[in-house]
Symmetry: C2
Subunit: 230 residues, 2 copies
């Protein structure tokens, strides 16, 4: 195996990084096999060779690519004959809009909703590091975050309204078939499913049908890891 | 001239419909000439032939197309050799996401911000109709809307955050060149510029550089109508 995807590892062999899921799905979309190299929050030495400290990192033969977006761009250019992730320059640019929307409109509430659960599902040896770094970033104790988490549920659900609106008229964000923008949104749900027993979307949310279809893709790749089912 | 674009007309020959601007820019993007047939809010008889009551309506030879989105799809399919509006199926699907985002996240606050100004800038003979229909839809008097308008400025500005984030890294929402998703956002600003003397974005908003570039396109098409400059 000359292809390796370095990704985040939690307790119980969990894989809940939304960015790593984008990379996982992008590799699968291209019909490529890959090995996975899991690493805990504190095992950054495993990717020291990449010159930076964040996963995902894809090693493809002699090439090392960091950052989920750059990995997707690399895959779409390098494996241009396989099904497209972006559908060309304009599609790549508008997928970047969806990535920015996720970052500015969806992740802030979801991070508050999940952060205490992420702590619980981190490997025990990573928990102190995770607590310290996230409490610094969020400016409050994880216990306070846990108390306030429920208040972020409605803002999170509401932030997904554009996606709901799109899926009224097409099966996937990218049209009749899934592509990279779908993996951006799917990674978000894999983050939630990986750490939170809470059903972050309601039973009758129209996003559920789409999520089931996403979980079915690539022989159920999204279901192949430990996660909460809801 | 066998091509005609029916569009909304305000007082002082103003053209402020965001949807009509999408169609205007899409036609120009394809390098096509067109005549414009302006109609006031109450002149729906002018488009009775289209079987529905809303502009834009494009008549292209023997073909009549209603709805700005359908017009863009029609143009991209029919004039496939001209510069693309969507860049293919995936790009069209993700542009639809941006259209849905505009509808669910941006327009609600902007409508509240502008509705009293739209009334002021409607043709005098359309004002009673406009007042009645919009007050019914919004559930309050236009005078109440005007009093509350300032409260919608920050939500509107904040809702544009994904676009700001995108433009940090690329010149247009669609990449290095403008395409349909840019016209979706541009129509939104033409709506504001058409009726409101208020600078809806701040002087140092990074969206301003993009807006200037958009106003320059197609020999300054966006500047060719009566509007507030800010």
């Amino acid at each position: 195996m000359t292809r390796k995807l370095y990704e985040l590892l939690g307790a119980d062999d969990r894989r809940f990084s939304p960015y790593c899921w984008r990379a996982r799905m992008a590799v699968a979309h291209k019909g490529l096999d890959t090995g996975y190299v899991p690493m805990g929050f504190m095992e950054k030495d495993k990717i020291a060779f990449s010159g930076q400290k964040q996963v995902p990192v894809l090693v493809d033969g002699e090439t090392t690519i960091c950052d989920s977006w750059d990995i997707a761009c690399y895959l779409d250019e390098t494996y241009a004959d396989a099904p497209t992730l972006f559908g060309g320059d304009v599609g790549r640019a508008t997928a970047w809009f969806i990535s920015c929307w996720m970052e500015t409109e969806v992740f802030p509430s979801l991070l508050h909703l999940l952060v205490a659960d992420i702590y619980t599902h981190a490997r025990p040896e990573d928990q102190d590091y995770f607590r310290e770094s996230r409490e610094g970033r969020l400016g409050q104790r994880l216990e306070q975050c846990a108390e306030q988490a429920a208040g972020y549920l409605e803002p999170f659900r509401s932030s997904l309204q554009p996606a709901r609106q799109v899926l009224k008229r097409q099966g996937f964000l990218c049209g009749t078939l899934p592509a990279y923008a779908d993996y951006i949104l799917f990674g978000t749900f894999q983050w939630a499913r990986g750490v939170s027993p809470l059903a972050v979307i309601e039973k009758d949310d129209p996003l559920r049908d789409w999520l089931e279809r996403m979980l079915d893709l690539y022989d159920g790749l999204g279901r192949s890891v430990t996660a909460y089912d809801y």
